[in-house]
Every structure is written in C-alpha cells, then in structure tokens.
Amino acid sequence: MRGRECTALTQPADEMSKSARPNLLFRNLNAKVASIPMILTAMVVFVGGTVWTVLYSFTNSKLLPRLNFVGLDQYYRLWAAPRWLISIENLLIYGAISLVFSLVIGFLLAALLDQKIRFEDTFRTIFLYPFALSFIVTGLVWQWLLNPDFGIQHVVRDLGWTSFSFDPLYNSSIVIYGISIAALWQGTGLIMCLMLAGLRGIDEDIWKAARVDGIPMWKTYLFIVIPMMRPVFITTLVIIASGIVKVYDLVVAQTSGGPGIASEVPAKYVYDYMFFAQNLGQGFAASTMMLLSVVIVIVPWAYLEFGRRK
C-alpha cells in the first residue's frame, strides 16, 4: 500500500489540528519543487504544444503560423489526399508487423537464451548490438543489402539462380514489409533483453512445478509464464508502440517514401507538409489526427495502468 497518496484527501479535523497543519500547497514541497521540470515538460511542451498544434490546424497557416481560421478545410483536404491514406494504411501494416514480430521474435530469442546455453553473453550481444545503431545507419545498410543491383538479389543471381528476385524496397506492393525487415533487425534485440529480464524474474519453482505436472514446455510458456510477465509486456508495448507511431528516419533512410509514395508514413507526411510544402496548417491537421489517435488509444490505457489507486 502506498500511503502518501491520501495527502490530498485530508481535511482539517478541527481548530486545534488546523493550527499545526501546514498549507496543503507546501506539503511535500521538496517533491513538488523537484517535479517542476516534469510538470513544465508535461504542461508546456506536451499539453501546450498539443493545444497550439490543434489550434493552428484550423488555420491556413503557410510558412509561418497565423491565426487565420478556415474551419475544417485542412481536414477535408487531408482525408482526400491519397498520400495520407496510403500513409495510414502503411502505418497500420508496419505497426502490426512490428508489434507481432518484435514480440514473437524477441520472446523466442529470450526463451532460447534462457535455456542455460553456452555462449549466452555472445549471442545476447549479437542480438542487441543493432539497437546501438541509429535508424539512419540501419536504413543505409539495409537499403544497400536489399538493393537489387548489388545486394542480396545480385549475389544470389551471380550464384546461378538468375530468376531469383528479392527487391522489397523497389516494389511498391511490398515495400512497407521490406522496411520492416530493417526495423526488426534494429529493434528486436531490446525486446529480447526486456523479455529475458522478465523470464529471469520468474520463480524457478514454477518450472519445477510444471515439470512435475508434466506440462509441455511450450504450454508452460504460453499459459503460465507469459501471463506472469504482464509488467514486462506492458513496458515492452509502450516502447514498441511509441516507436511505431514515430517511425520516420527508417523510411527516409531506406526509401524516402518511395517507390513513388508507396512507403509513406504519417510522421513523414507531417514533416513534409510542415516544412517542405510550407503548409503548416496541413501539417498541423495531420499532427492533430496522429495526436488524436494516440490519445484515444493511450490515455484510457495509461489511466488504468498508472493512474488507478491501489
């Protein structure tokens, strides 16, 4: 039980205690002072920035923000733009792939590493090192590996399979999957680490009990261990999901949204329209749509997860 949360609920009992009671505002004063950076960040940057963005999304601001309201015009245009629709579709595909494969691969690798194997440190380092590299670097390397003219396709064709075709970054219909290859390469290591840490936190007795009961290993994982790792999955989900919404550099480094506009993503739409097209209003409208979906999904969940009083 965490007790100090009842501070706010206290009321003056009577005259006598009132005299000894410090002002509510100054209770836990140090904690409040120490939280000023957090409060400022939350209120000024995140809330303030969001409100500002939403406000200006109703204007026709071009290069500079101007309060010239045009109602929902920017939104009509946004939802009529093929590029925005493609971006949304790509984000959904990319998000689903990232989420599912990050979790599955990350968990599998962690489960394999947790089998008391030899060279665990080596394998773990190998799986984790890509996380140290930026998306720019990741994108560059994979763009190169996947380039049909001298990457994997070229090498395999040189080996004799001349009809071999593997050009995910240059094929409109599968480019977003191609981008995910690099994303998974870069990100699964961290997920594996989180999962491994979670597995290490599971009581050994659980395994003993399952073994005595004759439960197959995969069932033990699926029905006993994974439900026990709920907190890890939550942290992992926050990390993966926040990465998905923000995906930008990876696309820029690998395809710049191409071929054509086949691999565009919402964050890139925002950036391009705010800065390349010098149409802030349109960029803000796209931002608002992104913020809105984040808020709709995240806030109720975050409130349940972090806000409930125990």
Partner: protein, 412 residues
C-alpha cells in the same frame, strides 16, 4: 580541451589563405550545394568573399532543398539566423519577407545598378516584393534539358535522337541492348520536374503558362494536357528500371552509359564536367527536349536575414555585391553549369551546352518556372502525384490527369 585546439587549427588553416587581413567578419552561409560540381562552384563564391577580407563560414546541408529548407526556416524563425542563405528565388521565402525577417537589399541594388545588369529582367522580379528587393540571384537554372549518352546509342545501334519523339522511338532498341532508356531518380522532385519539362516542351510555353500561371483547371483536364500525360506515360515506362534515388546517381547512369538519357536541369552538366566528359563528344544535350527551345528563369538566389550585429550586416552587403561581381559570376557559373545572371560577362570558356543555353537566352526565349508560379504547397502535392505516377503503373493516365486538374483547381 582538444576540441578547441581542433577548431583553432581549422581556423588557422582557413586563415592562411588570407593572411594579413585583420578584422575579418565571419558570415555563415547556408546552402544545399553538396554534389561534386556544386561544391566546386560554391568554393568559387567563398573564395571571392574571403578575398574581400571577410570569412565565409560554410553551412552546407546535404540532401536536397527539401531537407535543407526546413532547417534554414527554423533557424530564421527561431531567432538564430545565419548570415545568408540560399533559396530558389520565387515564392519559397515570400512569407519570411512578409514577416519582416529578411533584409531589404534595395539600397545595395540601387548602388550596384542591379536593374541594369541583371538579365533577363524577370529574374529580379522574383526577388522583389512590394517594390523592394530581398535577394540576389546568382544563376539561371533551366530544367528543360535532355541529357543523352552518345555511347549508349552507339551501343544500341540507333542514331542519336534530335528530340523527345525520336528518343521515345529509340527506347525499344535501347532496352534490347540492356540500357535503361530514361534515368529518373526516385526522389519525388525529379519525377515532378520531368513532368513540368514535358509540359513545357511537348505542350509548349502557352500550355505551361495556362496551367501553372493562370491555374486553369479545365484546361488542365483537357486534350492539350492529355498529350503531355501520354508523353509522361512513355517516360515512366522508359524509366521503370532505374533503381537510384539521387539525381546525380541517375546522371551517373548516363555518364557511364548504363542509361541513355535523363531529363534534368543544367546542373547535371557539372557532373559530366567533373567526370571529365566532353559535350558533343561523350554526351549530348537537347534544350527544351529539342521541341521547344526556351530557358526557364528559375535559379538560385541568396537571401539575407535581418541581423542585429552591425559588422555582420556590413558583411552581408559585401557578400551581396560579391555575388553579382562579373568575375564571381563567371567562375561560379562555369563550375555550376548554370548561366550567369548578367549579360555583360565574358563566357568564352563555356562549353557546348552552356553556349546553347546562352544563345537561347540572347534570343530572349525565356519563361518563368514553377518556383515563381506555384506555392511550395502546390509543388509538394504535385511531387506526391508524380512520384506515385512514375512508380505505380496501375495509376492510369486518365486518373492521374484528373487528379492533376483537381490539384490545379486548388493551387495557389
């Protein structure tokens, strides 16, 4: 601290060239000229400016104008302006000027009699807002060129085409020889630019102006423009095997004979030059795709943010003068492959292609380009459309034209 030593060392190296000149003012200049030919050209500007006793601090941002402009604009609006910055003259910096963030250069212009020396006159119009001059044009860039690899046509055994139509006709033979007929880089501005060139060349100057200047959506949906879309359809079929992103990588395909041609601005010439190729012998250029020989007066210009520092403001004036100096103009434009903005300079050193351009300019066959006519917003939408069009064969010519007309209807 090592870093300080390092900067000190750098500063010392830089200072060696202009030893003896004290009280140099550092002026940071941002631009996006980072390819081989471009960098060589910008070095000429820096050399000229440094010779005046000031110091050019180079702020190159690689990528393209699209990458660099947001950074420049953020810095100007964020209250940390550079000394001078490149923009394509036209409408890119319009609002910055209106917001009073840019410096009025009318005094310098009057002193230097810019209105007399800058040619064609329309160039200065792009710099003029409410009767005041805000930028210094440094070159004329025209998009309307078709660059051809002589080697590629030899290999394919077809004669060198004289215009776009012959080029399209030669495409099957080129493909048979394993040559990409047309190189179009993956970046959106390249496909969009290629279409604009086709619009001006296949459609003609009037068609171009009717669409982009008058923004006549009905006309844009009509048969004249449909013809252009047909040509664009040819272009995308010819370009489908290009797997490069950057324009100069695409140019490089032409230089090495892997691709037969490229629709690209005259800046491509710099790449041929750096590669040691000779115009007429190794490569051929067709202005206006050989159909409509005009020069669009697009180009680069330098803008000067309003600064508080008096020394720097002074240096800005010096830079503005230097940029238009005849000697600088020659040196810069020879390297850049673009045309000088003043007619009174000696360009004997110019190569075959540049001379073609100069001749057209002398004839007065000029037209404005999209940078002056369209807002960045419209440009971006146009880029999105043509990037999709070139990459997605399923997008039919009819649908694309319809979307294009819609876009023109809402253009500004």
């Amino acid at each position: 601290m090592r870093y300080k030593l390092l900067t000190a060392a750098l500063a010392a190296t830089a200072a060696l060239q202009f030893a003896g000149q004290a009280a140099a003012t550092d002026l940071e200049v941002t631009h996006w000229w980072t390819s081989g030919g471009e960098a060589a050209a910008v070095a000429e500007l820096a050399k000229a400016f440094d010779a005046t006793g000031n110091h050019w601090v180079d702020g190159a941002i690689a990528g393209s104008g699209g990458t660099a402009r947001p950074i420049m604009i953020s810095r100007i609006t964020g209250g940390d302006p550079m000394g001078a910055t490149q923009f394509n003259h036209g409408r890119q910096a319009e609002e910055l000027v209106q917001a009073g963030l840019m410096r009025d250069l009318t005094d310098v212009a009057t002193k230097g009699k810019w209105t007399d020396v800058v040619r064609p006159k329309s160039l200065l119009d792009g710099c003029t807002i409410d009767g005041k001059i805000y930028c210094v044009p440094v070159n004329i860039h025209s998009w309307q060129w078709l660059w051809l690899s002589n080697e590629a046509f030899e290999k394919a055994g077809v004669p060198l085409p004289k215009d776009w139509n012959e080029f399209v006709a030669a495409a099957p033979a080129l493909e048979k020889a394993g040559i990409i007929p047309l190189a179009v880089g993956g970046q959106a501005w390249q496909s969009s630019g290629a279409f604009d060139v086709l619009l001006a060349a296949v459609g003609g100057t009037d068609t171009f102006l009717k669409v982009y200047k008058d923004k006549d959506a009905k006309f844009a949906a009509g048969p004249e423009v449909a013809k252009v879309f047909k040509a664009a359809d040819d272009a995308r079929k010819m370009a489908k095997n290009t797997n490069v992103q950057d324009w100069n990588q695409a140019t490089n395909l032409v230089i090495t004979g892997k691709a037969a041609g490229q629709i690209m601005g005259d800046w491509a010439q710099g790449e041929f030059q750096v590669a040691g190729k000779t115009a007429g012998k190794d490569y051929t250029c067709l202005p206006g795709l050989g159909l409509n020989e005009v020069i669009a007066t697009g180009g680069d210009a330098f803008y000067f943010p309003l600064l508080k520092d008096a020394d720097k403001s002074k240096a800005q004036e010096v830079l503005a003068e230097t940029l238009l100096d005849p000697k600088t103009q020659v040196a810069f434009n020879l390297k850049k492959g673009s045309l000088p903005v003043r007619g009174d300079v000696d360009l004997n050193a110019a190569n075959d292609c540049m001379k073609k351009g100069l001749a057209i300019l002398a004839k007065g066959a000029v037209m404005p380009w999209t940078d002056q006519l369209l807002s960045q917003d419209t440009q971006k939408q146009k880029e999105d459309l043509f990037a999709e069009f070139f990459a997605k064969p399923e997008l039919t010519v009819e649908d694309a034209q319809k979307r294009f007309a819609d876009l023109i209807a809402s253009a500004d």
